[in-house]
């Protein structure tokens, strides 16, 4: 092929447009069909997910445009045998084109930003009747605190209970290092910053159980710094609040209380304390996690005092092959005296022998 035959080649612009259009349509369809986001469980999720769809609509054609031109150039303009010494036409530029591809992206981006700003105002807007929940991050556990009307002692929990359809505002703090309080189902997150109180709002609108995730690297136990959010009906929520108040009163009264089962505590926690079985292996309880030491081995032949110290002061003695500083140090607070006793007894029976 000579330079002349090249020049006479028709450049298939129409074909490119058709291919680009079809590819964009397929790309957008795929982009919209993919289940990108986790289950949406707050009113904030809707606008965010919709904004993401709009971004798919705008991004796919941009990618298709670049890819189509590259692929057509490769097919159409590649060097063919005999063209080894051929040069292309000396086109140095085209001011009108350059103005166009500067201006159009700028306009599109400004429009997108404006839309994003509207969404941002929307999802951060104050709601009437907001419930306050204080969130505290520490290595490596979350504590949720529900201030009580009338000045009663706030209710503390390591699991997050929220009533459906009631706006809630989180006030987030950190004790030691940075953490990040994130419930993917709610779409919102913010860092927990030592020395600062950070805040955000959500309105849960779907019943269910969702993970709470620490999203900011906080040290050795970062990947196990998890909790659970339970969005429940307002009636169930009130009942839960009442239950949380009850043990404190019961303890203050007779001291008998309901019978506490060490094994259940081990596998399920108590709503305030994270379940031991989430991190530890224990044959009797059927748990297999390897985040912490295997208790069948670590506790073999140990007495009750050792077991208790291991729960309330986990960093005093570290099992070989493990590191200190991962197990939360707040079990002394989140377990009642009976619960601690029940747990120590249970562990002494099944693993301590």
């Amino acid at each position: 092929m000579s330079e002349d035959s090249r020049r006479n080649d028709k450049i298939p612009v129409v074909q490119m447009l058709v291919v680009g259009f079809i590819a964009s349509a397929l790309g957008i369809a795929a982009g919209l069909a993919i289940e990108w986001f986790p289950t949406a469980a707050s009113t904030q999720a809707g606008p965010i997910d919709h904004l993401y769809d709009v971004l798919i609509w705008t991004s796919v054609p941009v990618f298709v445009l670049v890819t189509t031109i590259v692929m057509f150039s490769v097919v159409k303009f590649r060097m063919r045998p005999g063209e080894e010494n051929l040069d292309g036409p000396p086109i140095h530029g085209n001011t009108r084109l350059e103005v166009v591809w500067t201006a159009i992206p700028a306009v599109v981006l400004v429009v997108l930003c404006s839309y994003a700003w509207i969404v941002l105002n929307d999802i951060e807007e104050a709601q009437a009747g907001e419930m306050r929940v204080n969130v505290t991050g520490q290595q490596f556990a979350w504590t949720f605190e529900y201030p009580q009307a009338g000045g009663g002692a706030p209710i503390k929990s390591t699991q997050l209970y929220l009533p459906k359809d009631r706006p809630v505002r989180f006030f987030v703090k950190a004790i030691d290092v940075l953490h990040d309080f994130w419930v993917p189902a709610f779409r919102m997150k913010i860092d927990a910053v030592p020395g600062l109180e950070t805040k955000y709002r959500v309105t849960p609108n779907r019943l269910g159980t969702y993970p709470v995730v620490c999203a900011e690297l906080c040290g050795l136990g970062h990947s196990v710094m998890r909790a659970t959010t339970r969005v429940v009906t307002p009636a169930d929520f009130d009942k839960w609040i009442a239950e949380q108040k009850a043990p404190a009163e019961a303890a203050a009264g007779s001291g008998a209380g309901a019978e506490v089962d060490g094994k259940t505590l081990f596998t399920d926690g108590n709503g305030a304390a994270t379940a031991c079985g989430a991190c530890h292996t224990l044959a009797d309880a059927g748990t297999t996690s390897e985040t912490g030491p295997d208790l069948d081995k670590a506790l073999a032949g140990k007495d009750a005092a050792y077991v208790e110290a291991g729960i309330t002061a986990p960093d005093e003695e570290i099992a070989p092959g493990f590191q200190g500083g991962i197990m939360p140090k707040n079990y002394g607070d989140t377990l009642s005296a009976e619960e601690l006793k029940a747990l120590v007894t249970y562990l002494g029976e099944v693993a301590g022998k």
């Binding site: 090249r6 450049i11 993919i34 606008p47 965010i48 904004l51 993401y52 971004l55 670049v66 031109i69 590259v70 490769v74 303009f77 590649r78 060097m79 010494n85 040069d87 292309g88 036409p89 000396p90 086109i91 140095h92 530029g93 085209n94 084109l97 350059e98 591809w101 500067t102 992206p105 700028a106 981006l109 400004v110 997108l112 930003c113 700003w117 969404v119 941002l120 987030v172 030691d176 290092v177 940075l178 990040d180 993917p184 919102m188 997150k189 860092d191 910053v193 030592p194 020395g195 600062l196 993970p211 690297l217 906080c218 040290g219 050795l220 970062h222 990947s223 390897e290 985040t291 590191q323």
Partner: protein
């Protein structure tokens, strides 16, 4: 034997290193006795001081300061005899060599060494992540692996490998005999391996390597075990190296261009390194400061980041990102330059919109300093700064878009030579577009609130730095391989390397966008069961991606040893480095070239960029000072220019 230990070289460097440790012991002991502290020796204090002093001892021992010390003390300086110029055996690469071409190769080879180490760490991480739960490494090692992986690949690979390529090519491109400050150039290089070795040595520290990520956020970095200081101090050496090189590039570009090479006749690689050097000089001191503050907090009990003592945790992030966002452009602009060279040559067409290409680089430099807080949308900083930073972050896509569209227009109606450098350049165009798109998504605050700190970020950064920077690095290494080594690489292996890299790169990182949005956080050794399938698939293809890098290593080593001899201009390129032999003569040009036209006049009948008929450069006979040869070349420069 005694001479070996007294003269500059590796022997003296070894005892310089030891001397650094001894001096550290002495200083710590003196101060602790003075302050009546018990015990007199504090091992951590000695270690931390040694991390500063023994690298300096090494550099002094190696001879990096000899000339300056003599000059500063008023003794007669020993004129360079040029035995330190050029490389005749592999041993010459282990000396303080002032030849920019030797330094360029030292840089590229050293940084590729750290590339393979960093890549190996990535493989170990993927092995751990193949299944949920803990299999290969414990949490501390895992956190160490991703921290060292990122630090090596950012500070010891991408930034310096670009500096290395430019070191080799840039003086040739502008028709200069060397860099403006050859001794500073040698010192810059030698600080680099020290920083890298320091980061690797952190694995030997009690408590394991630094494990707070390459971002090293306070207060985690302040309370972390001793391995952290290997990062804190290592970054100082890498940063100092980077700043010195950037100054060198700026002075070289501004003062040493061949006669006739106006700013708008400079190849775009030179423009790109000019812009990058501006960024480095302005921004890099900020990361140095952030790490010094962490160091002072840790070691000297300062309270920069201790809120109960008036410190401010967010201040760290502001200072850190004021460097580290421009650092993204430090890691990208030189690549833009490489791509501009390759696309013009391999399309046989002038770069489309040359001036806009140059101006868009400068626009990125300016805008690059106005977007840092988009890394902090969920940090708890003041709310109002978010929207302005969203707009600037989105707008920085405009100059980047100008570049992409201009490259596409350069391809248009060209005669495309689809060899390995070109394939990597085209791969870069498409992959970097994806990285740019996810970058715009990350400007959009409501989306970022959900996806920050997830695998979406991991996907984005790898589309930018792997699909973007690394592809341009591969393109550049293949493109200048004949010039640097005088040999041709194996084209078939090169193409195989491209296709395996391109396919497995996408298979590895594309799914990370999805699992990130679905809610998988980054920097975790363990994850929820629901992502087990994706992670296993990603791990398997990532191993193939790792293997594809071995193809590259084999091709480079085998071709360097025994590839066919390269002609001086195998690509029929116009820029000046192709006017001289491959590899170029020790002093680059027998005669300083004269530039008579633009660098990319392909297809213009009879057009030339430069001709080799300037003033004769006096060839140093034996022991002429290199300063003299520089002086004469710059005076001839003036004559020509006038």
């Amino acid at each position: 034997m005694v001479a070996k230990f007294r003269g500059p070289g590796m022997y003296r460097a070894a005892w310089g290193t030891v001397l650094g440790i001894v001096v550290s012991y002495a200083i710590i002991a003196i101060f602790r006795i003075w302050y009546s502290l018990d015990p007199v020796i504090d091992a951590y204090a000695v270690l931390e001081l040694s991390l500063f002093l023994s690298p300096i001892g090494f550099l002094v021992g190696l001879g990096a300061f000899d000339y300056w010390f003599r000059w500063a003390s008023g003794r007669p300086t020993v004129p360079d005899d040029h035995s330190g110029h050029g490389a005749h055996s592999w041993r010459d690469y282990f000396k303080v060599n002032t030849d920019h071409k030797v330094i360029g190769i030292q840089y590229v080879v050293t940084s590729f060494f750290f590339f393979f180490v960093g890549g190996l760490f990535a493989m170990l991480m993927r092995a751990e992540l193949a299944q949920p739960g803990r299999q290969f490494v414990d949490a501390n090692t895992f956190n160490g692996l991703f921290s060292v992986h990122a630090s090596l690949l950012i500070f010891l690979f991408i930034i310096p490998v670009f500096a290395g390529l430019a070191n080799f090519v840039l003086p040739l491109m502008i028709g200069a005999p060397d860099m403006a400050f050859p001794r500073l150039n040698a010192l810059s290089f030698w600080m680099l391996p020290l920083a890298g070795i320091m980061m690797l040595m952190s694995f030997l520290a009690p408590g394991g390597s630094f494990a707070s990520g390459w971002t090293a956020y306070a207060p985690l970095a302040v309370t972390a075990p001793e391995g952290q200081v290997f990062f804190t101090i290592g970054v100082q050496f890498a940063g100092a190296s980077s700043i010195a090189t950037a100054l060198n590039f700026l002075v070289t570009i501004i003062t040493m261009r061949a006669p006739g090479m106006s700013f708008f006749r400079m190849p775009l690689l030179v423009w790109a390194n000019f812009s990058t050097s501006l960024l480095v000089v302005i921004a890099t001191p900020f990361i140095a400061v952030s790490q010094f503050m962490v160091f002072f907090d840790r070691s000297l009990g300062f309270n920069f980041f201790e809120p109960t003592r008036g410190g401010d945790v967010l201040m760290y992030q502001h200072i850190f990102w004021f460097y580290s966002h421009p650092a993204v452009y430090i890691m990208m602009l030189p690549g833009f330059g490489i791509i501009s060279e390759i696309l013009a040559v391999k399309s046989r067409k002038p770069i489309f919109g040359y001036r806009m290409m140059a101006f868009s680089l400068l626009a990125i430099v300016v805008l690059g300093f106005t977007v840092w807080a988009h890394h902090m949308f969920v940090s708890g900083m003041q709310d109002w700064i978010r929207v302005p930073m969203m707009v600037t972050t989105a707008i920085i896509a405009v100059p980047t878009g100008i570049k992409i569209f201009s490259w596409l227009a350069t391809l248009w109606r060209g005669v495309l030579h689809l060899d390995t450098p070109m394939l990597f350049a085209l791969g870069f165009l498409t992959m970097f577009t994806l990285g740019g798109i996810s970058g715009v998504l990350l400007a959009i605050i409501p989306v970022t609130i959900h996806v920050s700190d997830t695998y979406f970020i991991v996907a984005h950064i790898h589309y930018v730095l792997f699909g973007g920077s690394l592809f341009t690095i591969f393109a550049g290494v293949y493109y200048w391989f004949p010039k640097m080594t005088g040999r041709m690489y194996d084209e078939r292996l090169g193409k195989l390397h491209f296709w395996t890299t391109f396919i497995f790169f996408n298979a590895t990182f594309a799914p990370m966008h999805l699992i990130g949005i679905q809610g998988m956080p980054r920097r975790v050794a363990d994850y929820a069961e629901q992502w087990a399938g994706w992670n296993l698939a990603i791990s398997i293809v990532s191993f193939f991606l790792g293997l594809s890098a071995l193809l590259f290593a084999y091709n480079m080593i085998a071709s360097w040893r025994g590839g066919p001899r390269a002609e001086s201009n195998p690509w029929r390129a116009m820029t000046l480095e192709w006017l001289v032999s491959s590899p170029p003569p020790i002093f680059n040009f027998d005669a300083i070239p004269t530039v008579v036209g633009g660098p990319y006049e392909y297809g213009v009948p009879g057009a030339v960029h430069g001709v080799l008929k300037g003033a004769e450069v006096p060839q140093p006979a034996g022991a002429t000072a290199s300063g003299a040869s520089r002086g004469s070349s710059s005076s001839s420069h003036k004559d020509e220019g006038g």
